[in-house]
């Protein structure tokens, strides 16, 4: 009985030392975190941030022709699209494209449903704003040129 | 300078005295069990302070260690086993509570009267504690051992009583 008692104590102490070895090794090895926001990690190609409109390369206008597929597919109903035909164009162009980011679950079904791949994912993940409204009505058109009022959007670019 | 030190000494002695008495009163009179406990701790520390002032820091520390550290903790342990301790509170004092107040008061008065005839003998002197040890292991070895056997028996008895109770109550726990 005495031997098992002593054996138990010795074995227990040994197991504790094994654990301590692991932690001290970890302490001397390299850290695996980065000091955000001073350091950044590169995001993978397919990173799904909030959605954004993809421009036509030549014109800078949105590819979107306001068919509303995305809005219908969205499970959370967080996309609002309205569009009309600009003068002289064959297809419609969006006049409003609002994303309610407070409801969005970043599932990406809207991007998949788009027939002309006019939607893409942004790589912006560090988002903060002073009011809820900043995200409840995110205007996705604001970063793109608009076929309706070219002048206004150009000013925006400079500002 | 000497005078100053004496004054400090008397002052601190008075404070410790007051602390002991206040603690004692709290221990007896408080309605909440934990306040009583606290009063006892305060009184016992006060007693340790008295020992210190009487020139025996060793006894004082032993007082803190044994009475505050061991006895009070054991009592606190007991408190934590009682059901709803501190929530229900104790009963208000009965008229009979006068007795434990009057008795020591009388004793105190008698002592003070006796002391008033004596001359002041100066500050207490520091004693060599090792004498206590030699006495305990020499002249008083037999009573010392009797006491320790008694304590051991008490511990074993308490343990067995507690174990039987627990088994009866909770089955296999």
């Amino acid at each position: 009985m005495i031997t098992s008692y002593v054996h138990e104590i010795v074995r227990g102490t040994g197991s504790l030392l094994a654990g301590m070895k692991v932690t001290i090794k970890a302490m001397l090895s390299r850290t695996q975190t980065v000091q955000w926001p001073r350091q950044y990690l590169t995001l993978p190609q397919r990173f799904r941030g909030h959605i954004q409109l993809v421009p036509v390369e030549s014109t800078g206008y949105p590819k979107c022709f306001a068919c509303g597929n995305c809005a219908r597919t969205c499970p959370s109903k967080c996309i609002t699209v309205k569009g009309k035909k600009p003068e002289g164009a064959k297809k419609k162009s969006p006049t409003t494209f609002l994303l309610d980011f407070t409801k969005c679950s970043l599932c990406g079904l809207c991007v998949e449903s788009c027939p002309v791949s006019a939607l893409g994912f942004s790589k912006d993940y560090a988002m903060a704003g002073p009011s809820r409204q900043d995200f409840a009505e995110m205007d996705l058109l604001s970063s793109l040129a608009s076929p309706f009022s070219t002048q206004a959007s150009k000013e925006k670019d400079h500002g | 300078m000497d005078n100053f030190i004496f004054k400090v000494y008397y002052l601190s002695f008075a404070i410790v005295l007051a602390q002991t008495v206040a603690g004692g009163v709290l221990a007896v009179a408080a309605k909440n069990l934990i306040h009583c406990f606290l009063g006892m701790v305060v009184a016992l520390i006060g007693v340790a302070g008295l020992y210190y002032h009487l020139g025996s820091p060793f006894i004082a520390l032993m007082q803190v260690m044994i009475y505050v550290g061991a006895v009070c903790v054991a009592i606190a342990f007991g408190l934590s086993l009682t059901r709803k301790a501190g929530e229900e509170g104790l009963k208000p004092l009965s008229p009979m509570a006068v007795v434990p107040v009057v008795l020591p008061a009388g004793m105190l008065a008698a002592t003070l009267k006796g002391l008033s005839h004596l001359e002041k003998t100066g500050m207490p002197r520091k004693l060599d504690e090792s004498i206590i040890g030699w006495q305990l292991l020499g002249n008083y070895l037999f009573p010392f051992e009797i006491i320790s056997v008694l304590l051991t028996l008490a511990v074993i008895g308490a343990l067995s009583v507690a174990l039987i109770r627990r088994r009866e109550k909770n089955g296999n726990i």
Binding site: L16, V22, A26, R48, C74, L109 | I173
Partner: protein, 525 residues
């Protein structure tokens, strides 16, 4: 298909085979209430376990159809007992005296469909708030208009009664060890728990009603939100249920990708559990050690799916996008990396004498009790029952892969721990094999844009990280599911907790709670 259930209950009972198309159910029969009781009693004595109890509201027929779904740990077979109840006065004797674990399922079905389970052991509400009127899963339920945000009535806690003992401890809904909004009322005697009463529903979102109002595709992202730690398994169960109902083909490459990603997901879930369990036992470092390696899995999955937690990656008839060689290479690297890290996990935790003392012999579940409560997953395998959906009902390509089902010996927290740690190794093996054999080809078969599932019922199970996740899908040929029931593993696993916690130290009850690997949103749905 064997019909062991028929042999068990004999031919004396009146069963009527169900006419509709059935998927994943080996015997479906309609019976009446009294016969069901006899049959279930026999089933119980034969060791069958109750997967779930649920119902469907057939509004136009004026009937409520009550389902008992029975599984068998030993043989791959699943039995569906269906009982038609009158919609105006649905009453049925409770079977909680036969299967104690069914109490929770009955409580849930009762509050959602208004079915009265007579003589139930416990007939309080389980998930829904006490002041809700009506039965939400009935088709004619009209939701009450919610008060505007900020104006709602303040929630009042009922005062826990001190009758049972002098000391009632309210554990949660905000408590470090409940991992979410679980509340457990503990009746204590000092450090000992006399009785534990879990209160659910703090994170209830009515997912099953949401499913009835969504198209099949739209429901896909929601499934991942139930158990966010094994989101891909939920995706998998949902797409598989729809695929079985509609008869969609899945290309082989897609199946391989599904297996690789879901096994990665399983490892990541187990690694998180490893840390969280140790956190419950008071060890802090393992949590972040597990996290550091889990992070690599998340990076890998992010490469393929684009997100790190609630991947919405599987699609009907395939997966959303293809994996590239870089992913496969990095996954193999990760497999090697994790293999090299596992010994340090064992040094830090498995052999640790404190850990052994805290977990061995604590929270023992034996096989029979497990069957009573419908325990599945690692919690069950810890008790030595090798029941794993991947072997029992091999789906995807699991039948072609070589892997073992680790089982424990004692059914205690330590066994459950060991089972999960071995499962990590088995998953690594599976991933290696799948990557080795992954064929070229399409990743998605042609499916119609708008999915209309034909009329029928499918009960499709997936082995999620926590156990048997079963999606029961009832379709009436519409764009939207008529009824979708998620039989979640944690729900049944937690239902045994009050039994295990009785007369244990509070520290032990938290070890038991931790060893279940609970995800509360999954339980609350």
């Amino acid at each position: 298909m064997s019909s062991g259930f028929k042999q068990i209950v004999g031919d004396g009972l009146r069963f009527k085979p169900l006419p509709v198309d059935k998927h994943g159910i080996h015997l479906a029969a309609r019976t009446c209430a009294s016969d069901a009781r006899d049959a279930l009693r026999k089933a119980r004595s034969e060791g069958l376990f109750m997967e779930t109890v649920t119902a469907v509201d057939h509004l136009e027929d004026g009937k409520l159809e009550l389902f008992y779904l029975l599984g068998n740990y030993e043989r791959p077979e699943r039995t569906l007992l269906s009982i038609l109840l009158d919609r105006s006065n649905p009453k049925i004797p409770s079977i909680s005296d036969i299967f104690p674990g069914v109490t929770w399922h009955e409580r849930e079905t009762g509050e959602f469909f208004g079915i009265d389970f007579e003589n139930s052991l416990d007939s309080r509400r389980l998930l829904l708030p006490d002041d809700l009127e009506g039965y939400p899963l009935r088709k004619d339920f009209k939701p009450r208009k919610l008060p505007p945000v900020g104006r709602s009535k303040p929630f009042k806690y009922e005062q826990a009664s001190d009758e049972k003992s002098g000391f009632v401890l309210n554990l949660g809904p905000q408590h470090p060890a409940t991992h979410g909004v679980l509340r457990v009322i503990l009746h204590m005697d000092g450090e000992y728990v006399l009785e534990a009463d879990p209160i659910l529903g703090y994170g209830h979102r009515m997912q099953e009603k949401i499913a009835e109002n969504m198209t099949y595709t739209q429901m896909l992202p929601y499934t991942a939100r139930m158990d966010y730690l094994s989101a891909l398994h939920y995706n998998h169960a949902w797409v598989m249920a729809v695929e079985r109902l509609c008869g969609f083909e899945v290309p082989e490459r897609a199946e391989y990708i599904r297996v690789i990603t879901s096994e990665l997901n399983r490892i990541s879930s187990h690694l998180l559990w490893y840390g969280a369990f140790l956190l419950d036992l008071g060890g802090f470092t393992p949590f972040l050690h597990g996290f550091a390696d889990r992070e690599r899995i998340l990076d890998l999955l992010e490469m393929v799916t684009g997100s790190r937690l609630t991947y919405c990656y599987y699609r009907f008839g395939g997966v959303a996008n293809d994996v590239d060689d870089e992913f496969l290479k990095k996954t193999l690297e990760f497999v090697a990396h994790l293999r090299s890290r596992l010994p340090s996990y064992h040094d830090l935790v498995t052999g640790n004498v404190i850990f052994e003392k805290r977990t061995q012999g604590v929270g023992v579940i034996d096989r029979d009790t497990a069957a009573c409560y419908g325990i599945t997953g690692p919690c069950l395998r810890g008790s030595g029952v090798g029941f794993d959906i991947r072997k029992a009902f091999p789906y995807s390509i699991y039948a072609d892969l070589d892997f073992d089902i680790p089982v424990g010996e004692n059914g205690d927290c330590y066994s459950r721990y060991l089972v999960r740690m071995q499962e990590i190794e088995e998953s690594l093996k599976i991933i290696e094999q799948a990557i080795e054999n992954i064929p070229e080809g399409k990743i998605r078969s042609k499916v119609p844009k708008t999915i209309k599932a034909p009329e029928g019922i499918a009960a499709v199970s997936v082995e999620s990280s926590r156990g048997n996740l079963c999606v029961i899908l009832v379709s009436k040929g519409d764009k939207k599911p008529y009824r979708a029931k998620f039989r979640v593993p944690s729900f049944s696993n937690l239902s045994i907790f009050p039994k295990l916690a009785r007369k244990e130290l509070i520290a032990d009850t938290l070890a038991i709670l931790g060893s279940f690997d609970l995800v509360i949103p999954e339980i609350d749905r």
